[in-house]
Amino acid sequence: MNDILDVALRLVVVLVAFLTLPLIVGQTEHKVMAHMQGRLGPMYAGGFHGWAQLVADGVKFVQKEDVVPADADRRIFQIAPAVALLPYLLVLIAIPVGPNGFVGQDIDAGLFFVLAVMGVGVLGSLMAGWASANKFSLLGGLRTAAQLMAYELPMLLAAASVAMAAGTLSLPGIVESYHWWWTPWQLVGAVVFFTAGLAELQRPPFDMPVADSEIIFGAYTEYTGLRFAFFLLAEYAGIVVLSGLTTVLFLGGWHGPWSDSVGWLWTLLKTFALAFVVIWLRVTYPRMREDQLQKLAWTVLIPLSLAQIALTGVVKVVIS
Protein backbone atom coordinates (compact mmCIF):
# COMPACT_ATOMS: atom_id res chain seq x y z
CA MET A 1 0.00 0.00 0.00
CA ASN A 2 2.75 2.38 0.98
CA ASP A 3 4.65 1.55 -2.19
CA ILE A 4 1.68 2.38 -4.37
CA LEU A 5 1.22 5.68 -2.57
CA ASP A 6 4.91 6.44 -3.02
CA VAL A 7 4.82 5.72 -6.74
CA ALA A 8 1.61 7.68 -7.19
CA LEU A 9 3.05 10.66 -5.35
CA ARG A 10 6.20 10.63 -7.44
CA LEU A 11 4.20 10.43 -10.65
CA VAL A 12 1.95 13.30 -9.60
CA VAL A 13 4.97 15.45 -8.78
CA VAL A 14 6.54 14.65 -12.15
CA LEU A 15 3.25 15.41 -13.90
CA VAL A 16 2.91 18.74 -12.13
CA ALA A 17 6.49 19.62 -13.02
CA PHE A 18 5.79 18.57 -16.59
CA LEU A 19 2.77 20.86 -16.77
CA THR A 20 4.28 23.91 -15.07
CA LEU A 21 7.98 24.08 -15.95
CA PRO A 22 7.45 24.34 -19.73
CA LEU A 23 4.94 27.12 -19.16
CA ILE A 24 7.39 28.98 -16.94
CA VAL A 25 10.04 28.60 -19.61
CA GLY A 26 7.57 29.77 -22.26
CA GLN A 27 6.63 32.85 -20.26
CA THR A 28 10.30 33.56 -19.62
CA GLU A 29 10.89 33.30 -23.34
CA HIS A 30 8.11 35.82 -24.03
CA LYS A 31 9.59 38.28 -21.60
CA VAL A 32 13.32 37.74 -22.21
CA MET A 33 12.89 37.80 -25.97
CA ALA A 34 10.86 41.01 -25.75
CA HIS A 35 13.39 42.79 -23.57
CA MET A 36 16.28 41.63 -25.73
CA GLN A 37 14.50 43.31 -28.61
CA GLY A 38 13.74 46.48 -26.68
CA ARG A 39 10.07 45.57 -26.22
CA LEU A 40 7.95 44.82 -23.16
CA GLY A 41 6.28 41.60 -24.25
CA PRO A 42 2.88 40.56 -22.90
CA MET A 43 1.58 43.15 -20.43
CA TYR A 44 -2.18 42.64 -20.19
CA ALA A 45 -3.15 39.01 -19.58
CA GLY A 46 -3.57 38.37 -15.86
CA GLY A 47 -2.93 41.98 -14.91
CA PHE A 48 0.63 41.87 -13.63
CA HIS A 49 3.12 42.01 -16.53
CA GLY A 50 1.08 39.52 -18.54
CA TRP A 51 1.86 36.55 -16.30
CA ALA A 52 -1.20 34.65 -17.56
CA GLN A 53 -0.40 35.05 -21.26
CA LEU A 54 0.21 31.35 -21.80
CA VAL A 55 -2.96 30.44 -19.91
CA ALA A 56 -4.85 32.76 -22.24
CA ASP A 57 -3.09 31.15 -25.22
CA GLY A 58 -4.12 27.74 -23.94
CA VAL A 59 -7.75 28.79 -23.62
CA LYS A 60 -7.59 30.14 -27.16
CA PHE A 61 -6.12 26.90 -28.52
CA VAL A 62 -8.81 24.82 -26.79
CA GLN A 63 -11.56 26.88 -28.40
CA LYS A 64 -10.25 26.43 -31.91
CA GLU A 65 -11.68 23.91 -34.31
CA ASP A 66 -9.70 20.71 -34.66
CA VAL A 67 -9.24 20.32 -38.40
CA VAL A 68 -7.92 17.18 -40.05
CA PRO A 69 -7.18 17.57 -43.77
CA ALA A 70 -9.32 15.39 -46.03
CA ASP A 71 -6.37 13.52 -47.56
CA ALA A 72 -4.49 13.13 -44.32
CA ASP A 73 -3.70 9.80 -42.76
CA ARG A 74 -6.25 10.40 -40.02
CA ARG A 75 -5.07 8.11 -37.25
CA ILE A 76 -1.37 8.98 -37.60
CA PHE A 77 -2.18 12.67 -37.97
CA GLN A 78 -4.11 12.61 -34.73
CA ILE A 79 -1.67 10.71 -32.55
CA ALA A 80 1.43 12.54 -33.78
CA PRO A 81 1.21 15.36 -31.18
CA ALA A 82 1.01 12.81 -28.39
CA VAL A 83 4.05 11.00 -29.77
CA ALA A 84 5.90 14.30 -29.80
CA LEU A 85 4.89 15.29 -26.28
CA LEU A 86 4.81 12.13 -24.16
CA PRO A 87 8.50 11.11 -24.47
CA TYR A 88 9.50 14.27 -22.64
CA LEU A 89 7.17 13.33 -19.79
CA LEU A 90 8.84 9.91 -19.66
CA VAL A 91 12.30 11.48 -19.67
CA LEU A 92 11.33 13.79 -16.85
CA ILE A 93 10.65 10.74 -14.68
CA ALA A 94 14.27 9.67 -14.90
CA ILE A 95 15.96 13.03 -14.29
CA PRO A 96 17.29 13.26 -10.72
CA VAL A 97 16.43 16.52 -9.01
CA GLY A 98 17.98 16.12 -5.58
CA PRO A 99 20.13 13.69 -3.59
CA ASN A 100 18.83 10.64 -1.69
CA GLY A 101 16.37 9.37 -4.25
CA PHE A 102 14.75 12.66 -5.20
CA VAL A 103 13.92 11.30 -8.63
CA GLY A 104 10.79 10.00 -10.28
CA GLN A 105 12.27 6.58 -10.89
CA ASP A 106 15.90 5.59 -10.51
CA ILE A 107 16.69 3.58 -13.63
CA ASP A 108 19.94 1.61 -13.85
CA ALA A 109 20.53 2.41 -17.50
CA GLY A 110 19.02 5.88 -17.05
CA LEU A 111 21.24 7.65 -19.57
CA PHE A 112 20.47 5.03 -22.17
CA PHE A 113 16.73 5.25 -21.45
CA VAL A 114 16.69 9.04 -21.56
CA LEU A 115 18.51 9.36 -24.86
CA ALA A 116 16.48 6.61 -26.49
CA VAL A 117 13.16 8.08 -25.43
CA MET A 118 14.16 11.63 -26.40
CA GLY A 119 14.80 10.35 -29.91
CA VAL A 120 11.21 9.11 -30.05
CA GLY A 121 9.92 12.66 -29.59
CA VAL A 122 11.28 13.63 -32.97
CA LEU A 123 9.28 10.81 -34.51
CA GLY A 124 6.16 12.82 -33.69
CA SER A 125 7.26 15.56 -36.08
CA LEU A 126 8.13 12.97 -38.68
CA MET A 127 4.69 11.33 -38.39
CA ALA A 128 2.99 14.71 -38.54
CA GLY A 129 4.93 15.66 -41.64
CA TRP A 130 4.17 12.41 -43.42
CA ALA A 131 0.50 12.16 -42.43
CA SER A 132 -0.48 15.73 -43.29
CA ALA A 133 -0.62 15.13 -47.06
CA ASN A 134 0.98 18.50 -47.59
CA LYS A 135 4.24 19.07 -49.40
CA PHE A 136 5.43 21.68 -46.93
CA SER A 137 4.72 19.32 -44.06
CA LEU A 138 6.57 16.55 -45.86
CA LEU A 139 9.59 18.78 -46.47
CA GLY A 140 9.54 19.77 -42.81
CA GLY A 141 9.27 16.16 -41.75
CA LEU A 142 12.17 15.11 -43.93
CA ARG A 143 14.30 17.96 -42.65
CA THR A 144 13.43 16.83 -39.14
CA ALA A 145 14.52 13.32 -40.00
CA ALA A 146 17.80 14.53 -41.50
CA GLN A 147 18.43 16.68 -38.47
CA LEU A 148 17.69 13.82 -36.10
CA MET A 149 20.16 11.59 -37.98
CA ALA A 150 22.85 14.23 -37.94
CA TYR A 151 22.59 15.39 -34.36
CA GLU A 152 21.69 12.22 -32.50
CA LEU A 153 25.20 10.91 -33.05
CA PRO A 154 27.23 13.76 -31.46
CA MET A 155 24.69 13.89 -28.63
CA LEU A 156 25.15 10.20 -27.88
CA LEU A 157 28.93 10.45 -28.13
CA ALA A 158 29.05 13.41 -25.74
CA ALA A 159 26.79 11.59 -23.29
CA ALA A 160 28.93 8.47 -23.64
CA SER A 161 31.96 10.50 -22.61
CA VAL A 162 30.24 11.42 -19.33
CA ALA A 163 29.18 7.84 -18.77
CA MET A 164 32.81 6.78 -19.26
CA ALA A 165 33.99 9.38 -16.79
CA ALA A 166 31.46 8.33 -14.17
CA GLY A 167 31.67 4.63 -14.88
CA THR A 168 27.90 4.29 -14.69
CA LEU A 169 24.83 4.78 -16.85
CA SER A 170 22.57 5.68 -13.95
CA LEU A 171 21.78 9.38 -13.87
CA PRO A 172 21.79 9.73 -10.06
CA GLY A 173 24.99 7.69 -10.12
CA ILE A 174 26.59 10.12 -12.56
CA VAL A 175 25.67 13.11 -10.39
CA GLU A 176 26.84 11.20 -7.30
CA SER A 177 30.34 10.75 -8.72
CA TYR A 178 30.59 14.32 -10.03
CA HIS A 179 33.52 16.52 -9.03
CA TRP A 180 33.88 20.18 -9.84
CA TRP A 181 36.78 19.57 -12.24
CA TRP A 182 34.51 17.49 -14.42
CA THR A 183 33.01 20.61 -15.92
CA PRO A 184 36.27 21.90 -17.48
CA TRP A 185 37.22 18.32 -18.32
CA GLN A 186 33.95 17.66 -20.15
CA LEU A 187 33.51 21.20 -21.42
CA VAL A 188 33.72 20.32 -25.11
CA GLY A 189 31.32 17.45 -24.57
CA ALA A 190 28.92 19.77 -22.76
CA VAL A 191 28.92 22.27 -25.62
CA VAL A 192 28.42 19.50 -28.17
CA PHE A 193 25.63 17.91 -26.13
CA PHE A 194 23.82 21.20 -25.62
CA THR A 195 24.15 22.24 -29.26
CA ALA A 196 23.03 18.88 -30.55
CA GLY A 197 20.10 18.95 -28.13
CA LEU A 198 19.08 22.36 -29.42
CA ALA A 199 19.14 20.99 -32.95
CA GLU A 200 17.06 18.03 -31.91
CA LEU A 201 14.47 20.34 -30.38
CA GLN A 202 14.48 22.34 -33.62
CA ARG A 203 15.13 25.51 -31.70
CA PRO A 204 16.61 28.51 -33.49
CA PRO A 205 19.26 28.76 -34.87
CA PHE A 206 18.58 25.11 -35.82
CA ASP A 207 14.91 25.55 -36.73
CA MET A 208 15.26 24.66 -40.39
CA PRO A 209 12.45 22.01 -40.15
CA VAL A 210 9.92 24.69 -39.21
CA ALA A 211 11.49 27.54 -41.20
CA ASP A 212 8.35 29.63 -41.46
CA SER A 213 9.64 31.86 -44.25
CA GLU A 214 10.24 28.85 -46.51
CA ILE A 215 7.94 25.95 -45.60
CA ILE A 216 5.22 27.72 -43.57
CA PHE A 217 5.58 25.75 -40.33
CA GLY A 218 7.09 22.53 -41.52
CA ALA A 219 5.48 19.39 -40.16
CA TYR A 220 2.99 21.40 -38.08
CA THR A 221 1.51 23.36 -41.00
CA GLU A 222 -1.83 21.55 -41.01
CA TYR A 223 -2.32 21.46 -37.25
CA THR A 224 -4.75 23.66 -35.37
CA GLY A 225 -6.11 24.02 -31.90
CA LEU A 226 -5.11 21.74 -29.10
CA ARG A 227 -2.94 19.44 -31.24
CA PHE A 228 -0.88 22.38 -32.39
CA ALA A 229 -0.59 23.52 -28.78
CA PHE A 230 0.76 20.07 -27.89
CA PHE A 231 3.54 20.49 -30.44
CA LEU A 232 4.40 23.86 -28.95
CA LEU A 233 4.26 22.41 -25.45
CA ALA A 234 6.55 19.60 -26.61
CA GLU A 235 9.10 22.19 -27.71
CA TYR A 236 9.12 23.85 -24.30
CA ALA A 237 9.06 20.56 -22.43
CA GLY A 238 12.03 19.67 -24.61
CA ILE A 239 13.86 22.77 -23.43
CA VAL A 240 13.25 21.80 -19.83
CA VAL A 241 14.41 18.24 -20.44
CA LEU A 242 17.49 19.26 -22.41
CA SER A 243 18.50 21.85 -19.81
CA GLY A 244 17.85 19.35 -17.03
CA LEU A 245 19.90 16.65 -18.73
CA THR A 246 22.79 19.02 -19.43
CA THR A 247 22.66 20.07 -15.79
CA VAL A 248 22.72 16.49 -14.58
CA LEU A 249 25.42 15.28 -16.95
CA PHE A 250 27.81 18.22 -17.11
CA LEU A 251 27.05 20.78 -14.40
CA GLY A 252 26.82 18.48 -11.42
CA GLY A 253 23.06 18.47 -10.86
CA TRP A 254 22.34 19.09 -7.20
CA HIS A 255 25.96 19.78 -6.20
CA GLY A 256 26.47 23.18 -4.59
CA PRO A 257 26.57 24.75 -1.14
CA TRP A 258 24.19 23.05 1.35
CA SER A 259 23.33 20.50 -1.32
CA ASP A 260 21.97 18.09 1.30
CA SER A 261 18.99 20.31 2.09
CA VAL A 262 18.54 22.48 -1.01
CA GLY A 263 20.01 20.23 -3.68
CA TRP A 264 16.80 20.27 -5.69
CA LEU A 265 17.03 24.07 -5.80
CA TRP A 266 20.48 23.87 -7.34
CA THR A 267 19.21 21.54 -10.04
CA LEU A 268 16.32 23.86 -10.80
CA LEU A 269 18.55 26.93 -10.83
CA LYS A 270 21.04 25.39 -13.21
CA THR A 271 18.22 24.11 -15.41
CA PHE A 272 16.68 27.54 -15.65
CA ALA A 273 20.03 29.18 -16.32
CA LEU A 274 20.47 26.80 -19.26
CA ALA A 275 16.90 27.45 -20.41
CA PHE A 276 17.77 31.14 -20.40
CA VAL A 277 20.76 30.36 -22.61
CA VAL A 278 18.45 28.49 -24.98
CA ILE A 279 16.23 31.56 -25.25
CA TRP A 280 19.23 33.86 -25.52
CA LEU A 281 20.62 31.87 -28.45
CA ARG A 282 17.25 32.00 -30.17
CA VAL A 283 17.08 35.77 -29.92
CA THR A 284 20.67 36.29 -31.00
CA TYR A 285 21.25 34.10 -34.01
CA PRO A 286 19.48 33.83 -37.34
CA ARG A 287 18.41 30.48 -38.72
CA MET A 288 21.09 28.31 -40.31
CA ARG A 289 20.71 27.03 -43.84
CA GLU A 290 19.95 23.33 -44.26
CA ASP A 291 23.38 22.48 -45.68
CA GLN A 292 25.19 24.55 -43.04
CA LEU A 293 23.19 22.66 -40.44
CA GLN A 294 24.34 19.31 -41.75
CA LYS A 295 27.88 20.52 -42.19
CA LEU A 296 28.06 21.71 -38.59
CA ALA A 297 26.94 18.34 -37.30
CA TRP A 298 29.13 16.12 -39.44
CA THR A 299 32.33 18.17 -39.70
CA VAL A 300 32.42 19.97 -36.34
CA LEU A 301 30.31 18.35 -33.64
CA ILE A 302 31.09 14.70 -34.34
CA PRO A 303 34.90 15.18 -34.51
CA LEU A 304 34.70 17.31 -31.38
CA SER A 305 32.73 14.70 -29.49
CA LEU A 306 35.11 11.95 -30.62
CA ALA A 307 38.02 14.07 -29.39
CA GLN A 308 36.20 14.49 -26.09
CA ILE A 309 35.80 10.74 -25.75
CA ALA A 310 39.50 10.29 -26.44
CA LEU A 311 40.36 12.91 -23.83
CA THR A 312 38.02 11.31 -21.32
CA GLY A 313 39.59 7.91 -21.93
CA VAL A 314 43.15 9.22 -21.56
CA VAL A 315 42.39 11.12 -18.35
CA LYS A 316 40.47 8.15 -16.96
CA VAL A 317 43.38 5.81 -17.57
CA VAL A 318 45.89 8.29 -16.12
CA ILE A 319 44.01 8.90 -12.88
CA SER A 320 42.99 5.28 -12.21
Binding site: V32, A34, H35, M36, Q37, G38, R39, L40, M43, W280, L281, V283, T284, Y285
Partner: protein, 191 residues
Protein backbone atom coordinates in the same frame (compact mmCIF):
# COMPACT_ATOMS: atom_id res chain seq x y z
CA UNK B 1 42.95 38.38 -37.48
CA UNK B 2 40.18 38.03 -34.99
CA UNK B 3 39.56 35.10 -32.69
CA UNK B 4 37.13 32.59 -34.25
CA UNK B 5 33.76 32.85 -32.59
CA UNK B 6 34.28 36.44 -31.51
CA UNK B 7 31.45 37.47 -33.80
CA UNK B 8 29.13 35.00 -32.12
CA UNK B 9 30.10 36.33 -28.71
CA UNK B 10 29.58 39.88 -29.91
CA UNK B 11 26.06 38.97 -30.99
CA UNK B 12 25.29 37.49 -27.59
CA UNK B 13 26.66 40.61 -25.92
CA UNK B 14 24.41 42.85 -28.02
CA UNK B 15 21.24 41.01 -27.05
CA UNK B 16 22.25 40.82 -23.39
CA UNK B 17 23.03 44.53 -23.29
CA UNK B 18 19.69 45.34 -24.90
CA UNK B 19 17.94 43.27 -22.24
CA UNK B 20 19.45 45.36 -19.44
CA UNK B 21 18.29 48.62 -21.02
CA UNK B 22 14.82 50.08 -20.66
CA UNK B 23 12.58 48.99 -23.47
CA UNK B 24 11.30 51.66 -25.79
CA UNK B 25 7.68 50.49 -25.91
CA UNK B 26 5.24 53.31 -25.16
CA UNK B 27 2.32 52.09 -23.04
CA UNK B 28 0.14 54.76 -24.54
CA UNK B 29 -3.38 54.44 -23.22
CA UNK B 30 -2.08 53.73 -19.71
CA UNK B 31 0.76 56.23 -19.80
CA UNK B 32 0.43 59.53 -21.62
CA UNK B 33 3.36 60.33 -23.89
CA UNK B 34 5.71 63.13 -22.94
CA UNK B 35 5.33 65.41 -25.89
CA UNK B 36 8.12 67.77 -26.90
CA UNK B 37 7.48 71.54 -26.64
CA UNK B 38 5.58 73.11 -29.55
CA UNK B 39 3.86 69.79 -30.31
CA UNK B 40 1.23 70.12 -33.02
CA UNK B 41 -1.89 68.44 -31.72
CA UNK B 42 -4.89 70.58 -32.55
CA UNK B 43 -5.47 74.21 -33.56
CA UNK B 44 -7.16 76.47 -31.03
CA UNK B 45 -9.00 79.71 -31.73
CA UNK B 46 -8.94 82.78 -29.51
CA UNK B 47 -11.88 84.47 -31.19
CA UNK B 48 -11.59 87.84 -29.41
CA UNK B 49 -8.43 88.42 -31.44
CA UNK B 50 -9.98 87.42 -34.76
CA UNK B 51 -10.82 90.26 -37.15
CA UNK B 52 -12.15 88.01 -39.92
CA UNK B 53 -9.32 89.07 -42.20
CA UNK B 54 -9.58 85.61 -43.87
CA UNK B 55 -5.81 85.31 -44.23
CA UNK B 56 -5.79 81.89 -42.59
CA UNK B 57 -8.60 80.55 -44.78
CA UNK B 58 -6.90 81.82 -47.92
CA UNK B 59 -3.43 80.54 -47.05
CA UNK B 60 -4.64 77.11 -45.98
CA UNK B 61 -3.29 74.59 -48.55
CA UNK B 62 -6.13 72.20 -47.83
CA UNK B 63 -8.92 74.75 -47.71
CA UNK B 64 -10.04 73.28 -44.45
CA UNK B 65 -10.92 76.52 -42.64
CA UNK B 66 -14.47 77.79 -42.97
CA UNK B 67 -15.24 81.39 -41.98
CA UNK B 68 -18.61 83.17 -42.21
CA UNK B 69 -19.03 86.75 -41.08
CA UNK B 70 -21.16 89.85 -41.53
CA UNK B 71 -20.56 93.56 -41.14
CA UNK B 72 -22.08 95.65 -38.40
CA UNK B 73 -22.18 99.41 -38.39
CA UNK B 74 -21.04 101.09 -35.22
CA UNK B 75 -22.41 104.48 -34.30
CA UNK B 76 -19.88 107.31 -34.48
CA UNK B 77 -17.64 107.52 -31.44
CA UNK B 78 -17.63 111.34 -31.35
CA UNK B 79 -20.53 113.59 -32.30
CA UNK B 80 -20.33 114.54 -35.96
CA UNK B 81 -17.93 111.66 -36.68
CA UNK B 82 -18.20 108.99 -39.31
CA UNK B 83 -19.92 105.68 -38.65
CA UNK B 84 -17.48 102.76 -38.43
CA UNK B 85 -18.14 99.29 -39.78
CA UNK B 86 -16.89 96.19 -37.99
CA UNK B 87 -16.57 92.49 -38.94
CA UNK B 88 -18.49 90.07 -36.77
CA UNK B 89 -17.56 86.37 -36.80
CA UNK B 90 -20.50 84.05 -37.45
CA UNK B 91 -18.76 80.77 -38.01
CA UNK B 92 -15.20 79.61 -37.66
CA UNK B 93 -14.59 75.89 -38.30
CA UNK B 94 -11.56 73.77 -39.04
CA UNK B 95 -12.03 70.41 -40.72
CA UNK B 96 -9.36 68.23 -39.11
CA UNK B 97 -10.08 65.41 -41.54
CA UNK B 98 -8.55 67.66 -44.19
CA UNK B 99 -6.02 69.56 -42.10
CA UNK B 100 -2.42 68.48 -42.64
CA UNK B 101 -1.10 70.26 -39.57
CA UNK B 102 1.23 72.51 -41.57
CA UNK B 103 0.58 75.41 -39.21
CA UNK B 104 0.51 78.03 -41.96
CA UNK B 105 -2.75 79.50 -40.62
CA UNK B 106 -1.10 80.04 -37.26
CA UNK B 107 1.94 81.58 -38.90
CA UNK B 108 -0.02 84.03 -41.03
CA UNK B 109 -2.53 85.19 -38.41
CA UNK B 110 -1.57 88.83 -37.85
CA UNK B 111 -3.55 89.16 -34.61
CA UNK B 112 -2.55 86.00 -32.73
CA UNK B 113 -5.97 84.40 -32.86
CA UNK B 114 -4.78 80.86 -33.70
CA UNK B 115 -2.56 78.67 -31.51
CA UNK B 116 -1.14 75.16 -31.44
CA UNK B 117 -2.41 72.95 -28.64
CA UNK B 118 -0.67 69.62 -27.87
CA UNK B 119 -3.97 67.79 -27.35
CA UNK B 120 -4.25 64.94 -29.84
CA UNK B 121 -6.97 62.60 -28.57
CA UNK B 122 -9.93 63.74 -30.65
CA UNK B 123 -10.45 60.76 -32.94
CA UNK B 124 -14.08 60.22 -33.97
CA UNK B 125 -16.03 57.37 -35.50
CA UNK B 126 -17.78 59.75 -37.89
CA UNK B 127 -15.61 61.83 -40.19
CA UNK B 128 -18.06 64.75 -40.02
CA UNK B 129 -17.39 65.08 -36.31
CA UNK B 130 -13.83 66.05 -37.13
CA UNK B 131 -15.02 69.48 -38.28
CA UNK B 132 -14.52 71.45 -35.09
CA UNK B 133 -16.81 74.47 -34.82
CA UNK B 134 -15.86 77.63 -33.02
CA UNK B 135 -17.05 76.56 -29.57
CA UNK B 136 -14.88 73.45 -29.76
CA UNK B 137 -11.94 75.46 -31.11
CA UNK B 138 -12.40 77.76 -28.15
CA UNK B 139 -12.34 74.80 -25.76
CA UNK B 140 -8.98 73.85 -27.19
CA UNK B 141 -7.75 77.37 -26.36
CA UNK B 142 -7.68 76.49 -22.66
CA UNK B 143 -5.25 73.65 -23.37
CA UNK B 144 -2.68 75.87 -25.08
CA UNK B 145 0.50 75.85 -22.98
CA UNK B 146 2.58 78.93 -22.24
CA UNK B 147 5.28 79.46 -24.84
CA UNK B 148 8.38 77.47 -23.94
CA UNK B 149 11.55 79.35 -22.98
CA UNK B 150 13.98 80.12 -25.76
CA UNK B 151 16.65 77.59 -26.57
CA UNK B 152 20.10 78.57 -25.31
CA UNK B 153 21.86 80.75 -27.85
CA UNK B 154 18.68 81.42 -29.76
CA UNK B 155 18.14 84.67 -31.62
CA UNK B 156 16.15 87.27 -29.73
CA UNK B 157 12.51 87.41 -30.80
CA UNK B 158 11.73 90.22 -33.27
CA UNK B 159 9.01 91.63 -31.03
CA UNK B 160 11.54 92.22 -28.29
CA UNK B 161 13.97 93.99 -30.62
CA UNK B 162 11.17 96.17 -31.98
CA UNK B 163 9.98 97.12 -28.50
CA UNK B 164 13.58 97.84 -27.44
CA UNK B 165 14.03 100.09 -30.47
CA UNK B 166 10.88 102.08 -29.90
CA UNK B 167 11.67 102.43 -26.20
CA UNK B 168 15.11 103.79 -27.05
CA UNK B 169 13.58 106.18 -29.54
CA UNK B 170 11.10 107.50 -26.97
CA UNK B 171 13.85 107.86 -24.39
CA UNK B 172 16.03 109.74 -26.87
CA UNK B 173 13.16 112.01 -27.82
CA UNK B 174 12.39 112.71 -24.16
CA UNK B 175 16.05 113.48 -23.45
CA UNK B 176 16.24 115.81 -26.46
CA UNK B 177 13.10 117.59 -25.33
CA UNK B 178 14.46 117.99 -21.80
CA UNK B 179 17.74 119.33 -23.16
CA UNK B 180 15.92 121.80 -25.41
CA UNK B 181 13.85 122.98 -22.48
CA UNK B 182 16.92 123.41 -20.29
CA UNK B 183 18.66 125.36 -23.05
CA UNK B 184 15.64 127.61 -23.44
CA UNK B 185 15.58 128.28 -19.72
CA UNK B 186 19.26 129.15 -19.57
CA UNK B 187 18.87 131.49 -22.54
CA UNK B 188 15.99 133.20 -20.71
CA UNK B 189 18.21 133.63 -17.63
CA UNK B 190 20.99 135.23 -19.68
CA UNK B 191 18.58 137.66 -21.29
Amino acid sequence: MSIPGSGLAKGLAVTLRTMTRRSVTAQYPEVQPELPPRSRGVIALFEENCTVCMLCARECPDWCIYIDSHKETMPAAAPGGRERSRNVLDRFAIDFSLCMYCGICIEVCPFDALFWSPEFEYAETDILELTHERDKLREWMWTVPAPPPLDPGAEEPKELAAAQKSAEKTAAAAAAAAQAQAQAQSQEGEA
